[in-house]
């Protein structure tokens, strides 16, 4: 039976006289490709629906009157295909199309960014004529036009293959560019007033007129990459280099937990551009604009190049030699460890560097006070010290690789809570969208409202007041039903940690329904830090610090005597900062942490100020380095080899793009350890990989799931609301510094209110609304949104909305609202 089924799934055809078996439904152009026959093409793209627009891939099919576009023709049993290699008709058809594509093309290859890597240029060489027969006037357009602050369009170069518009519609769901006009005046453009009878400015630029809608997409860079000519270019790279002068290196994106493959092109010690890498299992061939363009931070003016040591006499930081600085760090930490040293590593480290911190904390500092989480860990004001998240990570995340991108695509249904995938893990979003459009993935969002991303996923909304998610996960029948189907997935974002009982309810729900659980953090290093042991309750490999066998395993691996490792859980980020602030801790070792990301930046900075000894391993000057006693510069991702674990738990290893010799965190830590007479063995990435590889799998029993009960949603008075927030993909994050065109594509910060609050405040769309706490206030234009009663939404860290610093609270807190801009005193209690 299966044999019969198999047979009907394939057909046999002949291409250029060679018999070949193909899957039913396969396109002729793909079959030819598999056979090594390169049929020229432009509009065809394997990840886009067939278009048949450019007609370059014409072949002859026996029995057909006319040449057939091989990019739209599916195979059939007994079909006889002749490509340009064996058919003069096909060869002539292709040459004819190529000639027509070139008549209106400016042939400005010497000044075009695409020159040297241009499919049109290459295929004109293989299929085109040596000289032109076209003696008429070429089509002209104003050039270029900015279709967004980052993407430029030179319409006269465009061959109207529609890859960009098809990508934007089919893949990203951002149909902001489209064909306009017709005939030889047909062009790609954005919606602009002058197309609809408005004045326009006449200069061809977008965005100057009321009614202009620029190319508003987080994925716009992909259109540049798939453009087969130089019609779409990026502001950042335009006229900067020639492709043949660049050195290309495969690498991995360091921004979010999606784990995208990338290609970084550098010349003379500087990365000039980055492209999406081809990784079918992860990002397919796409990436987001943040990953593509957010790399200039590594060359920022405030990059640290030499160690700094605080001068005892003046209290100022001064440049120091490595030996002096390392010695100062080692001696300071040695003294501080009597009272205890906390280690804050941030979520930006590679697995290897995270492991170095985890090992350094345990072996050199003798503490479990290590935490990678540089964000709110619990609800604002929660002070019982329960660390629900670390218990959840130990029980359900560390070492687990249950869900892959492919699973997402094939899943019948997914429930998303504490996560806005388009903003927080864009490539996961694209895969969900693919599943939704191609394989009927049904998405249920447990969120306060259907964001644009959720709408593009066709998500059903289970409306949640922030803080109420735990109760909904435990009781809502729609959520349980959505997870009932085999293969269903429950996606949990890192933000769920701020909901009391949220992670407990999620884990219990997954256990109850049999759904697979995926934890999706925001940063590239988060998941790796869990598995590397940068948590107060976990050793490397997900081993609980309280498990005697685990301690013995790690002691053996690290050549330590029994009992050398601390066997009680340490403090988490909040606990470490509190202990530093009140003088309990003698020192802090801080890696890439921005205090502005923490639950209360003011409290964090007080802790950094108060702690007697502060060592900072950093890339650029920061709020931490300014307060540090010793500052040690380390390498950015581009200058080191390493590995990230993406949200799946998949290893995403990469080699250094720029060989600069800048030290990794692990190498610096090893040097400090050496001065304290410990051989840490983390100086070399390959040595760490060997050490990790040699470590046996954990034999410890998985800790029990946390069981924190849900909390009540707080009462709100008049003109009060519960705060909801998440990060915009492109915001004030320090790794987006240095690229204004990219910042120009950020979504506008605004405050979202429901109709109830808008009515109570008497505001309409666009009016100013001030959101305040005792700490301070944020004033932004309002957009009335379908939110639950008395809920307000703000972006976490966008221009004009630095929520944690300005308000000192996070999601779930009660805030006050007022119409209009505040007076000189922001709010009661903010008065000094």
């Amino acid at each position: 039976m299966t044999d019969v089924a198999k047979k009907t799934d394939t057909v046999t055809l002949t291409v250029d006289g060679v018999e070949v078996v193909a899957e039913k439904g396969e396109l002729v152009i793909r079959v030819a490709e598999r056979m090594g026959i390169a049929i020229p093409r432009f509009c065809d793209h394997p990840l886009l629906a067939p278009a048949g627009a450019c007609r370059q891939c014409l072949v002859e099919v026996e029995g057909q009157r006319k040449p057939v576009a091989s990019c739209t023709q599916t195979v059939a049993e007994g079909m006889v295909v002749k490509t340009q290699l064996s058919s003069p008709v096909a060869a002539k058809a292709q040459a004819g199309i190529m000639e027509m594509l070139l008549i209106n093309h400016p042939l400005d290859c010497p000044t075009c960014d695409k020159g040297g890597e241009c499919p049109l240029q290459n295929q004109a060489m293989s299929s085109g004529r040596a000289d032109t027969r076209f003696h008429e006037h070429k089509r002209e357009y104003e050039k270029p036009i900015h279709i967004s602050s980052q993407v430029l369009l030179d319409r006269e170069r465009c061959i109207l293959c529609q890859r960009c518009t098809r990508f934007s519609e089919e893949i990203a769901g951002d149909k902001f560019i489209d064909l306009m006009d017709r005939s030889s005046g047909e062009q790609i453009n954005v919606y602009r007033d002058d197309f609809f009878g408005g004045d326009g400015t006449g200069d061809g630029q977008v965005g100057d007129d009321e009614g202009d809608v620029p190319f508003n997409s987080y994925f716009s860079g992909n259109t540049i990459q798939i453009c087969p000519v130089g019609a779409l270019t990026g502001e950042q790279y335009r006229f900067r280099a020639r492709p043949f002068d660049l050195v290309s290196t495969p690498t991995t994106c360091e921004h979010c937990a999606a784990g995208c493959s990338m290609r970084a092109d550098h010349r003379r010690g500087k990365v000039l551009r980055r492209l999406a890498g081809d990784e079918p299992a992860v990002n397919e061939e796409w990436n987001c604009d943040k990953g593509r363009w957010g790399f200039r931070y590594a060359n920022a003016f405030d990059r640290l190049t030499t160690p700094l040591v605080r001068e005892a006499d003046t209290g100022e930081l001064r440049e120091a030699s490595w030996s002096e600085a390392l010695l100062a760090a080692a001696e300071g930490l040695k003294a501080a460890r009597e009272r205890g040293v906390g280690v804050l590593t941030g979520g930006r480290l590679t697995v290897e560097d995270a492991y170095a911190y985890a090992k350094f904390a345990r072996v050199v500092l003798g503490t479990n006070d290590v935490d990678f989480r540089a964000r709110p860990l619990r609800a604002s004001g929660a002070s019982d010290g329960t660390d629900e998240e670390s218990a959840f990570l130990a029980a359900s995340v560390a070492g687990v690789t249950d869900v892959t991108y492919a699973d997402v695509e094939d899943a019948p249904s997914a429930v998303i809570v504490g996560l806005e995938p388009e903003e927080e893990c864009p490539i996961l979003f694209l895969r969900m969208r693919k599943g939704h459009l191609k394989k009927k993935l049904q998405v249920t969002a447990v969120a306060p409202y259907l964001s644009r991303g959720f709408e593009k996923l066709g998500a059903a909304l289970v409306a949640a007041v922030p803080g109420d998610e735990a109760r909904l996960l435990a009781t809502d029948p729609a959520i349980a039903a959505a997870l009932g189907a085999p293969g269903a997935i429950l996606f949990v974002g890192e933000r769920l940690a701020t909901v009391p009982g949220g992670l407990s309810a999620a884990a219990a729900l997954a256990a109850r329904t049999g759904a697979r659980l995926a934890w999706v953090p925001r940063r590239a290093g988060d998941r790796g830090a869990v598995d590397a042991g940068c948590l107060p309750n976990l050793l490397p490999g997900g081993r609980p610090v309280t498990d005697a066998d685990a301690l013995a395993e790690i002691s053996a691996a690290w050549d330590l005597p029994d009992g050398a490792l601390p066997g009680t859980p340490g403090r988490d980020t909040d606990g470490i900062l509190a202990a530093a602030a009140d003088g309990t801790l003698g020192g802090l070792l801080v890696a890439g942490v921005d205090p502005a990301d923490l639950a209360d930046p003011r409290l964090a900075e007080q802790a950094l100020d108060a702690v007697p000894f502060l060592v900072s391993l950093e890339l650029r000057q920061s709020a931490v380095t300014r307060r540090a006693d010793v500052v040690l510069p380390v390498a950015p991702a581009v200058e080191k080899a390493g590995t990230y674990l993406d949200w799946e738990g998949r290893l995403r290893s990469f080699e250094a793009v720029l060989p600069t010799g800048t030290m990794t965190d692990g190498r610096v830590l090893e040097a400090i350890a050496a001065l304290l007479e410990v051989s840490l063995g983390t100086g070399d990435v390959n040595a760490i990989r060997r050490e990790l590889g040699a470590m046996p799998a954990s034999r410890s029993a998985r800790p029990a799931l946390p069981s924190v009960p849900p909390a009540e949603v707080p009462q709100r008075g008049e003109h009060e609301a519960v705060l909801s927030t998440w990060h915009h993909l492109i915001d004030l994050g320090s790794m987006l510094d240095g690229d204004e065109p990219l910042a120009g594509t950020a979504r506008s910060p605004l405050v979202r209110l429901g109709k109830d609050l808008a009515g109570a405040l008497g505001v309409v769309d666009g009016d100013a609304v001030t959101v305040s706490t005792d700490r301070g206030g944020i004033t932004l234009p309002v957009e009335i949104t379908d939110l639950p009663p008395q809920v307000v939404w703000l972006p976490t860290n966008s221009p004009g909305s630095t929520l944690r610093r300005s308000l000192g609270v996070t999601s779930g807190a009660v805030v006050r609202l007022a119409a209009g801009t505040p007076g000189p005193i922001l709010a009661e209690g903010a008065h000094q």
């Binding site: 067939p50 278009a51 048949g52 627009a53 450019c54 007609r55 370059q56 014409l58 009157r65 006319k66 040449p67 739209t72 002539k92 058809a93 004819g96 199309i97 000639e99 027509m100 594509l101 008549i103 209106n104 027969r133 076209f134 003696h135 008429e136 006037h137 089509r139 061959i159 109207l160 489209d178 064909l179 006009d181 017709r182 005939s183 030889s184 005046g185 047909e186």
Partner: protein
């Protein structure tokens, strides 16, 4: 003008055109007095499948140009599939020279509406659309008025004539694009998208309007249906030829004494049509003509006696098309005529595919140059080659249509081109048209 002979006059078979000259036939009362809606009553009494069989038996072929058997097309609609079915009438008549549908909708709109109701009943559609060319304001006004009248009389809406059959009919005006006469572009346009042809398969019968089974038929095709229902398949087949049955409206224009619509059985010859039209204009001798609009290969005075049915015209190397017969004389310049057509095709190309978009841009400019006295011998080879590179390479038939007059005139009238190139014919266009060319 000469009077046609009696035996030629007898070739006229007014069926679809029979009410055009009756005063106020566009009003429902007059229409009903002239047999109107009688076919509908008859049709609603029979099983839909029997109606499809009747149309198959009649041998009715599509009047929009391709001549596809109508009954067969209706039979492709999957029945009992649980999806809505749609009937879409292609009234986007835009082919140069063609003007049979607009007068029909202007003077006898109810015959189309009656056909729509019968056809919808046959294919089990409860919603039908007439996509009418945007420029045809007067015809659209008549048609909308007629639809309102039909609703008022209970021929449209719920439970039509107590039969239990419901039908809503929407008259949709296009926005003035020739490409929207291509059925899949029409469907895209009707759905509110940019009118560009769709990839096939899937064919409209499987996934047409709103991805549901859809029949797209020409106005003339649908308007024929009531007559077939009333008169029967055998009566219908008594007109025309064996494989091309029924009457056909021939649209005669150009150098004839009396241009207009002449409805005759399929298979009439141009010689007879010219006679019906009162002969050529004085002093004009036939030089070339289109059998079915400008997209069909030109014929010459050699072809006066070929039967104008689907097979006869194909046998002469052309296409019956929409039977829009444009007649040109020895005082007309085929090069100039081709340029005018090309300007049309270039203007109307949707831009989707390379050959049609770029090839027309190129050819138009080459013609402008030749007609300005700036042509070169090499232009003729380039034109021929470009036309060959467009024909059969474009996404839809529009590109083929554009290449056709070029190929035809180069084949029959090469000397006319050489006359421009070698200076024997005075330039028809100013060199100013070429400013900026190099």
């Amino acid at each position: 003008m000469t009077q046609p002979r009696r035996e030629v006059l007898q070739k006229l078979t007014p069926v679809l055109t029979k009410r055009w000259l009756s005063p106020d036939a566009w009003k429902i009362d007059v229409y009903q007095r002239l047999d109107g809606y009688a076919a509908l009553r008859k049709a609603l009494d029979v099983h839909p499948d029997d109606l499809i069989q009747l149309v198959k038996d009649s041998g009715l072929r599509g009047r929009g140009g391709a001549g596809f058997p109508t009954g067969l097309k209706w039979g492709f609609i999957p029945q009992g599939d649980g999806k809505p079915h749609y009937l879409v009438v292609n009234a986007d008549e835009g082919e140069p020279g063609t003007c049979k549908d607009l007068p029909l909708m202007t003077y006898d709109p109810h015959s189309l509406i009656e056909g729509v109701i019968i056809a919808s009943y046959a294919i089990r559609a409860s919603r039908a659309f007439i996509y009418i060319r945007g420029e045809a304001v007067h015809a659209a006004r008549r048609l909308r008025h007629a639809v309102r009248e039909a609703y008022a009389k209970g021929f449209l809406g719920e439970n039509i004539l107590g039969s239990g059959f419901d039908l809503d009919l929407v008259v949709h005006s296009g926005a003035g694009a020739y490409i929207c006469g291509e059925e899949t572009a029409l469907l895209d346009s009707l759905e509110g998208f940019r009118g560009q042809p769709r990839l096939r398969p899937p064919f409209p019968a499987v996934a047409g309007l709103y991805a549901s089974p859809t029949v797209v038929n020409n106005v003339g095709t649908i308007a024929s249906v009531p007559y077939i229902v009333l008169g029967g398949a055998d009566w219908w087949k008594s007109m025309g030829t064996e494989k091309s049955s029924g009457p056909m409206i021939y649209s005669l224009s150009g150098r004839i004494a009396n241009p207009g619509q002449y409805e005759c059985g399929l298979g009439i010859t141009l010689r007879e049509l010219i006679e019906l039209a009162g002969g050529m204009q004085p002093g004009h001798n036939l030089k070339f003509w289109t059998p079915g609009g400008s997209s069909t290969p030109l014929l010459t005075d050699e072809h006066l006696d070929i039967p104008l049915d689907f097979e006869g015209v194909a046998g002469a190397g052309s296409i019956l098309g929409t039977t829009a017969t444009q007649i040109f004389s020895d005082q007309d310049c085929p090069v100039y005529a081709t340029w005018r057509w090309l300007e049309f095709y270039h203007h109307e190309s949707c831009g989707k595919c390379t050959p049609c978009r770029e090839g027309n841009y190129w050819m138009v400019r080459t013609y402008r140059r030749i007609l300005s006295g700036q042509g070169a011998y090499a232009d003729l080879d380039t034109l021929q080659d470009t036309a060959d590179n467009i024909f059969g390479r474009s996404f839809c038939g529009l590109g083929d249509g554009a290449a056709t007059p070029v190929v035809s005139t180069l084949k029959w009238f090469r000397q006319d081109y050489l006359d421009y190139i070698e200076g024997r014919t005075a330039p028809r266009l100013s060199e100013k048209a070429l400013v900026g060319a190099h």
